[in-house]
């Protein structure tokens, strides 16, 4: 139980064994190269130390290169979002920096009723999806990891295999199905469909966390006369909180960023969500309002960025816990 709670911090702790990756027998070579012919204990250690130092700075330099490459598009998004339309259409000078920063694009979007609708729809659908997904997957994971029934083993492996049938295969038959139940161009069809994207993985994460809870804990509760619901609510959910946070973030990410289903099933602006709304609203034929598009991207990326900034450790621990165990 305590091991379970300590999981996220463990993710960030590690032994600083920098020199371990460098060959042990290379040390004499280096000391010979540096000219210290009398390889006494101290010079030996300093050259090893220096080598480690080089490996460390080399790693930092390489990581810095990767960070620059990875952050280039978000940086460009920010720069463009601060430019006025005039500055963008002038097409002169360095596009990577903004000369006359302005918040006009952001102000335009915040006061733009369509954008408000998209944001509200996205928030609403995401909250509904996360709630539904978490209820379904926590109940199922509890049942699959602890109680079991005929065929529950097949189910727990089978659930994960549903990812072999990706949404890009399902959206065409679902187009017919959604149409036949009358939910085409309604945000509610997304509330029905998004859980299918999140639930298998959330269930998998939760099964992992629930199985690591010692059996003695729920047996003791059973002997004390607790019902299964009480065991789930009073023991399993509090103890597996890191896992629940990880699964919730996953469901949130999926629901907030999904693009295919809303693009296929929604077509009026009062029903659209952010991912498709930005594209269909701010790109009119050949007119690209890049400043506004980039500002909208930034505003739409804000909730995930904030959530990850605070809860990243839980998420990373949840994602990697199952895989490293298996």
């Amino acid at each position: 139980m305590s091991a379970q709670l300590e999981k996220p911090p463990r993710g960030s702790a590690m032994g600083p064994m920098i020199g371990e990756l460098s060959p042990a027998h290379a040390t004499p070579v280096v000391s010979r190269a540096t000219g210290s012919a009398a390889a006494s204990g101290t010079t030996h250690r300093t050259s090893l130390h220096r080598q480690r130092q080089w490996a460390l700075w080399g790693s930092y330099a390489a990581l810095a290169v990767f960070v620059v490459m990875f952050l280039m598009p978000p940086f460009y998004t920010l720069m463009t979002s601060l430019k006025s339309s005039a500055e963008i259409s002038a097409q002169t000078g360095n596009p990577w920096i903004v000369k006359h920063p302005t918040l006009d694009n952001f102000w335009y979007l915040i006061t733009y009723p369509n954008f408000q609708t998209y944001y509200l729809n996205s928030v609403m659908i995401t909250i509904a999806t996360v709630t539904i997904s978490m209820v379904i997957s926590v109940l199922a994971a509890f049942s699959l990891s602890r109680m079991g029934f005929w065929g529950s083993n097949i189910l727990s492996t089978g659930v994960f295999l549903t990812y072999l049938i990706p949404p890009s295969l399902l959206f065409i038959p679902l187009f017919q199905i959604v149409g036949s139940i009358g939910l085409i161009n309604s945000v509610w069809c997304l509330v029905l469909l998004y859980p299918t994207l999140a639930v298998p993985f959330c269930t998998w994460i939760m099964i992992g966390y629930f199985s690591s809870i010692p059996k003695e804990l729920d047996e003791a509760a059973l002997i004390d006369g607790a019902s299964y619901m009480q065991i789930l609510l009073k023991i399993f959910i509090p103890v597996a909180m890191p896992g629940i946070i990880a699964a919730t973030i996953f469901a949130f990410t999926v629901a907030w960023g999904a693009f295919l289903y809303p693009l296929a099933y929604l077509y009026t602006s009062n029903q659209m969500v952010l991912t498709v709304g930005i594209i269909s609203d701010l790109i009119r034929g050949d007119v690209f309002q890049w400043g506004k598009i980039m500002a909208a991207c930034l505003l739409a990326s804000l909730p995930p960025i904030i959530i990850y900034a605070f809860l990243m450790d839980y998420y990373v621990a949840g994602l990697t816990a199952g895989a490293t165990k298996g």
Partner: protein
């Protein structure tokens, strides 16, 4: 549970009571499994209703004609396979998925090693910075890439011009456009590999490296005989998961190129969308997207068989 542990001497006297108790235990067990089934019911309904049923429905749809009035058997599949555009789609889908997954796996491995080299207390901030591409919704970051690839006044072309090179029509020429879609996918997916590999690297016991160092193993030997074998399962699972997601990718190609130029960047998903939703030929779109399943199932079968094999070997 105290069932079946009673002392034999008491058996005769307690027989009727025992029978009642055993009956109630059986009853309890039955109740337990029916409660368990009920708790799983929402999951089962969701998966059956919106994954399994639509999958079979897709199979049915794919065998109809365009107006969905007559049964044509495998006609749609045969039609697609003969079409040059669809042959391009198969080629590009496989090229896209394989190249992108290999690149992501390699880069992720390198970055994870670099991260493993630096002290633990600094790792958090670097990891946070490197995870940014993966945090931003893909459809939105692809918009930025689109803008950076813009032919007239793009960020990349400006840099090229500064170094005296001519403008590159990034998304206008087939093979360059293909490379662009792969680049965006690699940019988005590498952080996922990085965190999975980093976790795997940390789970390798330090004692193994120490023992190898005493035996005189070099860095390369440690990599090939300790790190990689210890990480094999996690590499396999990460690659499989990424392969599925990359193969089924829709957002990048749809936004960046829309399948063009000359249908050279279409993948299964975007082509199915164009044929099925935009042109209204639902059966043909369903047939197109169904091609994904056997390929994915084939990959999954071999990867998972390898993983269970290795898990058994370790257990034995």
């Amino acid at each position: 549970m105290a069932d079946g542990t009673s002392v034999p001497a008491d058996m005769i006297a307690a027989a009727p009571r025992e029978a009642v108790r055993r009956g109630s235990m059986k009853h309890l067990a039955r109740r337990k499994s029916s409660v368990a089934f009920l708790l799983c019911l929402p999951l089962i309904l969701l998966i059956t209703g919106f994954v399994i049923y639509p999958a079979f429905y897709a199979l049915f749809l794919s065998m109809l004609n365009k107006k969905m009035t007559a049964f044509v058997g495998l006609g749609n599949f045969a039609f697609l396979l003969k079409r040059h555009t669809f042959q391009l789609v198969i080629f590009q889908s496989c090229l896209f998925a394989v190249t992108a997954v290999v690149a992501k796996a390699l880069l992720g491995f390198i970055i994870a090693h670099l991260m493993h080299n630096i002290p633990g207390k600094n790792q958090r901030i670097w990891r946070g910075l490197l995870l940014v591409p993966w945090v931003i919704p893909l459809a939105l970051s692809t918009l930025t890439w689109w803008w950076m690839f813009d032919p007239s006044y793009s960020a990349f072309n400006w840099v090229l011009n500064q170094f005296g090179f001519a403008n590159v029509p990034w998304l206008g020429v087939g093979w360059i456009a293909r490379a662009c879609t792969i680049t965006v996918n690699v940019w988005f997916g590498t952080p996922f590999f990085m965190i999975m590999y980093l976790a795997a690297l940390k789970s390798v016991p330090e004692a193994l490296y120490e023992a190898a160092a005493i035996d005189g193993a070099g860095a390369r030997q440690k990599l090939f005989f300790i790190t990689l074998p210890m990480m094999r399962n996690i590499i396999a699972i990460t690659v499989l998961f990424s392969l599925i997601v990359t193969f089924a990718d829709f957002d990048i190609v749809r936004i960046l190129t829309g399948g063009g130029p000359q249908d050279m960047t279409h993948v299964f998903a975007t082509y199915a969308f164009q044929v099925g939703i935009q042109s209204g030929d639902i059966p043909l779109g369903a047939a197109d997207s169904l091609f994904m399943f056997p390929i994915l199932a084939f990959a999954a079968f071999f990867v998972l068989r390898g993983v269970t094999q290795r898990t058994k070997d370790i257990a034995a």
